[in-house]
Subunit: 448 residues, 4 copies
Amino acid sequence: MSSASADLFAPLFADPDVLEQLSDRARLQAMLDVEAALAEVQAEIGIIPRDAAVHIRGAARADLFDLNTIAVETATDGVPTIPLVRHLTKVVQGSDRDAARYVHWGATSQDIFDTALVLQLRRAVPPLLAHLDRAAAAAANHARRYAGTPMAGRTWLQQATPVTFGLKAAGWLDAIARQRNALASALEDVRVLQFGGAAGTLAALAPHGIAVTERLADRLGLTAPDLPWHAHRDRLARFAAALGVTCGVLGKIGRDVSLLAQTEVGEAVEGKGGGSSAMPQKQNPVAASVALAAAVRAPGLVATILAAMPQEHERGLGGWQAEWVTMPELVLLTAGASRAVAGLLEGLVVHEDRMGENLHATHGLIASESIAMALAVHVGRAEAHRMVEQAARHVRNHGGTLADALAADPDVTRYLMRADIDRHLTPEHYVGAARELVERALRGSKTM
Amino acid sequence: MSSASADLFAPLFADPDVLEQLSDRARLQAMLDVEAALAEVQAEIGIIPRDAAVHIRGAARADLFDLNTIAVETATDGVPTIPLVRHLTKVVQGSDRDAARYVHWGATSQDIFDTALVLQLRRAVPPLLAHLDRAAAAAANHARRYAGTPMAGRTWLQQATPVTFGLKAAGWLDAIARQRNALASALEDVRVLQFGGAAGTLAALAPHGIAVTERLADRLGLTAPDLPWHAHRDRLARFAAALGVTCGVLGKIGRDVSLLAQTEVGEAVEGKGGGSSAMPQKQNPVAASVALAAAVRAPGLVATILAAMPQEHERGLGGWQAEWVTMPELVLLTAGASRAVAGLLEGLVVHEDRMGENLHATHGLIASESIAMALAVHVGRAEAHRMVEQAARHVRNHGGTLADALAADPDVTRYLMRADIDRHLTPEHYVGAARELVERALRGSKTM
Amino acid sequence: MSSASADLFAPLFADPDVLEQLSDRARLQAMLDVEAALAEVQAEIGIIPRDAAVHIRGAARADLFDLNTIAVETATDGVPTIPLVRHLTKVVQGSDRDAARYVHWGATSQDIFDTALVLQLRRAVPPLLAHLDRAAAAAANHARRYAGTPMAGRTWLQQATPVTFGLKAAGWLDAIARQRNALASALEDVRVLQFGGAAGTLAALAPHGIAVTERLADRLGLTAPDLPWHAHRDRLARFAAALGVTCGVLGKIGRDVSLLAQTEVGEAVEGKGGGSSAMPQKQNPVAASVALAAAVRAPGLVATILAAMPQEHERGLGGWQAEWVTMPELVLLTAGASRAVAGLLEGLVVHEDRMGENLHATHGLIASESIAMALAVHVGRAEAHRMVEQAARHVRNHGGTLADALAADPDVTRYLMRADIDRHLTPEHYVGAARELVERALRGSKTM
Amino acid sequence: MSSASADLFAPLFADPDVLEQLSDRARLQAMLDVEAALAEVQAEIGIIPRDAAVHIRGAARADLFDLNTIAVETATDGVPTIPLVRHLTKVVQGSDRDAARYVHWGATSQDIFDTALVLQLRRAVPPLLAHLDRAAAAAANHARRYAGTPMAGRTWLQQATPVTFGLKAAGWLDAIARQRNALASALEDVRVLQFGGAAGTLAALAPHGIAVTERLADRLGLTAPDLPWHAHRDRLARFAAALGVTCGVLGKIGRDVSLLAQTEVGEAVEGKGGGSSAMPQKQNPVAASVALAAAVRAPGLVATILAAMPQEHERGLGGWQAEWVTMPELVLLTAGASRAVAGLLEGLVVHEDRMGENLHATHGLIASESIAMALAVHVGRAEAHRMVEQAARHVRNHGGTLADALAADPDVTRYLMRADIDRHLTPEHYVGAARELVERALRGSKTM
């Protein structure tokens, strides 16, 4: 809504280019862009004089307007378009009395306001997509480079079976690439002109309403809708949801990295961690925290946009207004998280040695599925599972290696020799289709 | 999570077919379907004996299992798949000792659990889509039938300019059709097998992991993913979001109808309203309340799915579990609201007489934009706006008609004769492109 | 997070005094206030030289610091306190080399940051409470003045039975007063110093840690907690929830007023409505829209604060950061809505004539419970309900008054004479304990 | 809403006693309890015959009603109270024709429905509080027992400075105790009768309305409100929020334990972990996952209750209905998480050896603040920080201990001897006021 602690956190949480496109100034400019384009297409059709359009275009520069005045008057008028149109009329009057008569001709506030929002989204989202592309490229590099680097796979935060770091990075890549495309497609979907006049009938422009709609869309690089969408917000909601899902994808990466970077794990750390005001040794995973914070914040913001959908009749009150600050905030948040994760992945320092150490820390337990499958061939899956579970319990309670515990069990050695046991319990041998899966992800993300 | 007040509200809020597909029993069956199909494709490839697959398939019937026992054991195991596999193994043992050895071969709980969820979605969502189709058809009928029926357009809950009821219905149609397609497409997107084994490497099935994946997907009518998606929940999140947006679209219709049905408005009422335990005259808009309740509940449920996304490493804890009850709840909620709105629109009783009365209730004020545009040609938009605003204020404060107030203003009569004024202030004349827009919506929703 | 469209909407949605207290500058100042107070109590105890404290206090003025620089460095350090402490040290060095050695002695970033947030809340919330007091006073005035003004009560948006406008206003008063006190009490609850040093043991200040804590709390006008609460955010969450509930209370009033102000209802309108860029006759309920927008936005913001609670170990990452923008935003939103509703209620224009007209618009249906109760004495509640329901159906389908329809039914006239029927169906007679309830609310809100 | 996968997860996620109190059956019984008590107080006052009350009380047993029939009819009537009253009337008719005339006398559906919800909350929440008490007691035990057990404190998931496990447990205790009291107090706050008749005026009971209200509240063990609260939901919202905050408090504990239980950390594990269907060695932190899942789900559910608040006029549509499933779900969720955390804390297995190992894993880095403070006395905080940061970097890049690195720096040894360095770098020596803080928490939680 507001400038509460607006700028202090901007460099941490936001992307400056996206911020610029979503600023107040940019919002005014986008509204003015719509007013100018409207005048131009009306002049083309012959609804207003050509000269009027020239003067309106000339006045449609945000720097000619005082943001504060418009903000203050918005408090009375309820929508910034109303004071903006008033001041635009004055500015045009200053250059041509007659032209001023045609400002905002046949339009309503929401036409200008909503279309301006769409223009802002169209301008602000491409840098966000570029960050996702960077993040995907960096994840792809890790996937390729570490395709064969074994590490502990972890489920429920417990070591499970080995994976490779390449496979983990391929998972990130796969999700980023998929969501990047979903977001780009949602941007296409939302790139739609809102134009309907006072209550959506285009009556003030009859009989030219639909012609104006189509030319205006064309001139602004937007799609012309079948119907004005003033009170139907599903496109915006789908776009908001796409942003929210993007934050979730990025948050997952932030979570993984924050966990890998733990002092006790130490398998991958941010190249550029933050410090501490108290502890000289600290290197905090700042980028991961930015991604995670976005993943915490986005669900509530998406929920707001969804909750705002049941708007009353031809223009809502409450729901529409709730979107005004929430939509840009969500874009900004997602862009900031995308930038943070791109930087995080590009700079990620991978400690293969720690991966190796951790993989062996459980003395074979991490490969217990491997030996269970080898036994299962002989005794069935359930019985094999039970046998290995018993040996694993022994290791946890009395120490030693899983290989020793199994080798001491005649039920096991009836089927497997010690060398077999050792081979099955070598974690590096038990990474399955990891490499092939990495290749699939690399191919798949390209064709996406 | 639970059976808290589970069934009491089901007939009101839910669809029985969808409920059936999302029941505990159906969830067990879906898990068993995956286990059986897994055994069959493994038999085909030669990983397990053909006979084993036959016995496993034979045992994969939910009615052979005691739901309560599995529920109780889930409290210990943490995931229902674990006790289910245990009991499935026993059931198979009952028919063939050897076959039991191959139950759940090379799979992990999440493979079965997540894929079962996908199967449930695939089964539960088509009836939901059918309700949306019914709702769209009913909205299209209203749009066609009432394309020329003028009524008050309302913005900020104030009468604004005239629209037609057909145009309002076309707006509903347009949004339903668009979101119906978005949901169907999200269903396609989520129709993806989850299969990766313990930590996603398919190691227990090496070297057949990917072959099993592809055949299993095929057999279950699902898509094979490039990578297992156990810890990447973006597809589910996109689907949840599509459900949430659907509830928003339906809630908007519920809101409009609840407002139209107000005693003081009375323009359209539910054919089958509910009664009151206290007031004999009451006819409550029950279907609208169901749609609105869904629109209030869905944002929080979608937020939950989004908040659950940053799942730890190869299988999360907390986030994954939060999905278990939330995803089906969201499907059920959306299906119930779709059914309610389909019924609401099919049975909607439209009172054209009240629409006419309300349109004239303001003595011309509703057409003030019309006269302002007529004056604007002579004096410019801003000045015309001011002139009509002044006359409107006079009407509000001292009564009379807008036509009289304007006719008393020499600044107006300099440009417009009384007959012109009256013509411009006839609301029925001022519905612009309403009819053409309705046709666009009817065409557009067909091609969608 | 950011300055996205920060200022354009501030005068509409926010309160300038509260905004000031939540600005970046105010946040820096609050952090500096904590640093200075810390130095002073440490000097008192003898941990650092008295002179150092004097120099640190002297440097603790936000205007000595460049907000931009600190913002930019926050992007690297992860928390604004880190660059702030660095620059504070420099500023102190400028005045006294030795004093600079004692800046931020034994503290950690979060101590300063969280305590500063608490200070900001303590400063920002009283104006918010004052708006609620104004709103309560205005509601009380309406309750008193219109205690006997009958109007239609409406349930499910259908006319139900008569109420009085005073009773409706008393309901608003009751809720505002109750929530105002809940919020004030939540402010008391959250007014707690955070101080624990690096990981909450106060080790860097041993053996003076707890003494510093208690004196620091005292000096800042805060409560000293039993334990540092760095990773336990329940107090903040309770406060956020109290803000969210406040927005809900205000949104309910906004909704009621927006419905009363409908053109077709017209019973109460905002004194200062907004206009329209298209329609000269419009008077939009702007204040109601501000309250409703807050009620749409607050749930998502509260959900964010709740979702942020499970913070990792001694300081979280992601959750903590998610609070930074969300908490102030929520305060600002609630303050803006409180101010809007205060203005709305103070300026509300009540149209008793329209209330009367609407009350009679259903020709007696609104009093059907009244007559049903009169019949129930004779035939029982259920049978009476059925009889009146039948008459009401007749009125709805064939017009006429409920009195006529009932008078035509011999089953009715067996028990009630026409005069009785007419008396029971006079809505003004059927407002029950409305006046007494108003008085209870007026008394109750005073003692709260 | 519904029985979607209702029972399968109940033993995992819910508490059976609480579930019982929130079941459909219990809801019917609570509604019947209200109807019976209403008849009784009306008989006392002389509004209805004493005999009627006896028969109504006799019929007010949920087992006399068919849940399915009531559920099916709810779909038409919109509220379960309507069919329930119809069937109650029939049952009473069966025993006494005359008594049946007085069923539901002067009440409206919402009176019964909302008051029944309050009764259910009053019955369901005490077991929840008991779980919190168990959890607090178990946390207190850990706090006491391990008050002096040093372990690594972790901020941003990085080792920070030493803490003690007792201090960590004291933090849990402190938060549980505080929130337990907040919840108990919110239960007091919500324990309020709803009774107002059709639209809140008590008109059907005039002149006895308020007397009935007060006696009814008394008989049901509830508070009589100043005003009916049918459309003012702040009490429910505050209660929902208290449940949400409780889930957050529990989720924080779940998160901590899940992190402590990581294979690579291993400092504390659940006594009764879950297994894996694939991996024999696994012991999954099931209780932690239940708590975390609750913390993921609760924010969305609380947001729903908040979003439902702006209810229309004297009875909303949409918002009210959204509460019906959400409130019990939230209670159930919180109770389940409370029970899980109680069990978790009672059974927690603490590995002091692993705490010791991890504390020394960084070769002194974890105590770097300690040495920095020692140096700060000589060179100032900032310079000391810089010196230790440099040594820490050396250790991270080239191995060795922090003590060696510092001892090799003449700038350090100018002030500190090797023995001092070693002493300062002994993590066990650097736990500050941990023990005292534990005692404060133990005392504080008792007085709460």
